[in-house]
């Protein structure tokens, strides 16, 4: 068996001084195979973004390690292309300029013409042709995320990290971009880790869904393989029994772990005084 594309090996992350330490992520273990599309699903505040920062190398784990193709990740780099939730476009550069900055840096040996072709190719891939010279400020939210995607893809990353890429978009744009990401991924397969809070999105897009339990001390829970055949058509999928079962399974699991977590939190509360209402009308 080949080395997995990405490995997270018993990682812990927390903050605060030793005396009053808050653990965000505890004992995380994950292996993502080459060209696998893994979706990590979790509630907001459970440390999803921290997990993504670990994968990207923006943040370092307190214990344990993150490995890519067997090498420990110590800093961010273009081989792990990350698509940020809030686009992270440079507003003073045009669509073309934003991609150019990345391409110039990652492929310094390209000639001017090659670079132009390369950039145009990715602009076309995300259907932004015609908007090359617009500033990000003139683009809609969906177009911005497309641009961000084009910039990330233009670096030809081995691993694509999607950090809730579509959560800031409206439902229609979101569906549209989901299809687009899937189309691009199917054309040019690579390892993808996507973080999301949308079960439908995860089932529609991923090969495998991994649940992240609610924080603090979030850890990875059950993993659900998605065996639905590709290409998946969102219009017919709603009637697909396998899709429905899987969706319900994941949703139920997520609800359960959320409830457990709530009970755990409640158990930690102070015991209430033993009081009961008194009926004055009975006197």
């Amino acid at each position: 068996m080949t080395t997995p594309a990405l490995e997270i090996d018993s990682v812990n992350v927390g903050f605060g001084p030793v005396s009053s330490r808050t653990e965000i992520l505890a004992n995380i273990n994950l292996t993502v195979q080459q060209n696998e599309f893994a979706a990590i699903i979790g509630f907001s505040g459970s440390g999803k973004s921290t997990l993504m920062n670990l994968l990207a190398g923006i943040q370092q784990p307190d214990t344990g390690e993150v490995r890519m193709h067997g090498r420990v990740v110590t800093e961010p780099g273009p081989e792990r292309g990350i698509l940020f939730q809030n686009y992270s476009l440079l507003p003073w550069l045009t669509v073309f300029g934003n991609i150019e900055l990345a391409v110039r840096q990652v492929f310094p040996k390209m000639t001017r013409a090659e670079r132009k072709d390369h950039i145009q190719h990715y602009i076309a891939m995300v259907s932004l042709t015609g908007s090359e010279w617009k500033n990000p400020g003139e683009l809609s939210g969906g177009m911005r995320q497309r641009l961000s995607l084009a910039r990330t893809l233009s670096m030809r990353p081995d691993v694509l990290l999607l950090d809730e890429p579509l959560s800031a978009l409206d439902a229609l744009t979101r569906a549209n971009l989901q299809d687009e990401i899937i189309r691009i991924w199917e054309e040019d397969r690579r390892t993808v880790v996507m973080i999301t809070n949308d079960v439908d999105e995860a089932v529609l897009m991923a090969d495998r869904i991994i649940a992240l339990t609610p924080g603090p001390k979030a850890t990875l829970g059950e993993s659900f393989p998605v065996t639905l055949e590709r290409p998946r058509d969102r219009t017919t999928l709603n009637f697909n029994p396998e899709f429905k079962t899987l969706r319900n399974k994941v949703t139920r699991y997520m609800t359960e772990i959320n409830q457990e977590a709530k009970q755990l939190r409640k158990a930690a509360n102070v015991t209430l005084p033993d009081l009961s209402p008194y009926d004055f009308t009975a006197v």
């Binding site: 961010p76 992270s88 670096m155």
Partner: protein
Amino acid sequence: MSESTTDKIKYGLLKTIDISGFKVFDPVVRLLFGEEPTKQAVDIVKYLVTPIVFVLLCMALWTVIAPRHKTKSGEVPTPTEVWAAAVVNDTLNEREDEKETDFALSGEGREDAIMEVSAALIIKEAESVELKSDLLQIEKDVKAEITGKIAPLQEAYDRLSQKNRMIKAERETNIHSLAEGVASKKAASADLLQAIRDDKAATEAGRDAEKLIKEEINEVRNNPPKALKNAQLASNAVANEAGHLSKRLDYLKTGNRSLKVTEAEDKTVAALQKLEDASTPAAVLAAAKLVVGGEETAERIAEQRYPRTATIWFQVKRSLFTVFIGFIMAAVIAIPVGIMCGLNKVVMACLTPIISIFKPVSPVVWLLIFQIVVGAFFPDPENHPLFTFFASLPLVGGLGINPALVFSACTVAICAVWPALVNTALGVSSIDQDHMNVARVLRLSLWSRLFKIIIPSSLPLVFAGLRISLGVGWMVLIAAEALSSSDGLGKFVWDEYQNGSSHSFANIIFACFVVGIIGFFLDRIMILLQRSVSFDDGAAVV
């Protein structure tokens, strides 16, 4: 013209006025293109006509109030007088231009100019003589008129004082007799005291009445009819013009540069002749020295500039140049230091005490410090290479760059450096963490990070800081020039204040407007720059 072309022009125009900060004219442009005329008309009335009316009202108020306040330098000038001062100052500048041209003229141009100016001078002199005789006549008339007006008043005054004196004498006798009565116990002492009190009051009242008439007389004497003042002004103006023309003739005839050069050259030729004729070694040497000296003199004269008197527009140019130098100095220091402060918290911590202590220091203190420090660098400014270099430059050569300009610029720089520095540091330190993450993912080098992420992202704040800096610099400069007598608008104001002629006050107020209007345009230029680097379309505060 097709529909879209018109639209293009319209929106181009609208964008231009928006960027340049003249958004009030937006409805005017829209109205010209026929867009919703009623709405535009309402907007024009609200935001354009009303402010104009308000300003006019202020001017009217000024016109009414100003003459009522009498100061040591005369009445507070009205807008008309200030405008007149502006015209006078502009004329002075024009005259300097004319004299400068005359000084440099040579050959046929000079001959023509002499003809022209002489003819004009003859006309003006004739006019001046005529006006002077008119003035004399008017003065005589006015004197007669005033005497005529004063005579009855004087008579009334004399009569009143005569009467007052008589009554006073009566009261005195009365008091004396009362005193005798009291002494011989025939009258009550209370009556005497009352009589003395009454006398005092009556004397006072009499004096007041006299004073009233005296004031009336003075009023007549000090307020000659407007006709006299106008005649004086007219006569003075023509005499001035004639004086200017004769000065011009001077510069064309005796004071002309080409003439002086020819003179020097003639001397050299004569000396050459002497050199040929000389027979003894001593005579040869003396003649040779004369030749060389003559050549040098001719060269020196050929390079002479006309010694311009400092007019207001010259002072404006110099002030603008000084503030520009000071501003550039401030920017060159503030931007790199600000970037370092924003990038590194230790640098920020090191500089915070320095910034906090020196930021509130008054420009006057800085001026004095720089005056001493800069002065020490240039013990002999006349021959310092820096200043001789500046004097040889084409555009700024005539501005008379000297140590005073250098320390004024330094004062501007040190006062203007703080807003730019603090804003730059803020801009750099408040850079979006997402943008830094992009830089980290791309593994940008330090330089790329600086020039591709950090500086572009902080530019809007940097320019906001520079804009404040330029405003501060301009204010500081005027004060510095006034205090240090370094040529510029500040010195113009100060000179007028010290000069104390009848026009001074109007000139000062005129200078106040010049300073304000230039400051306004400097600010507009900075807004333009700020807008051009703003990527977030955040409207710059207008």
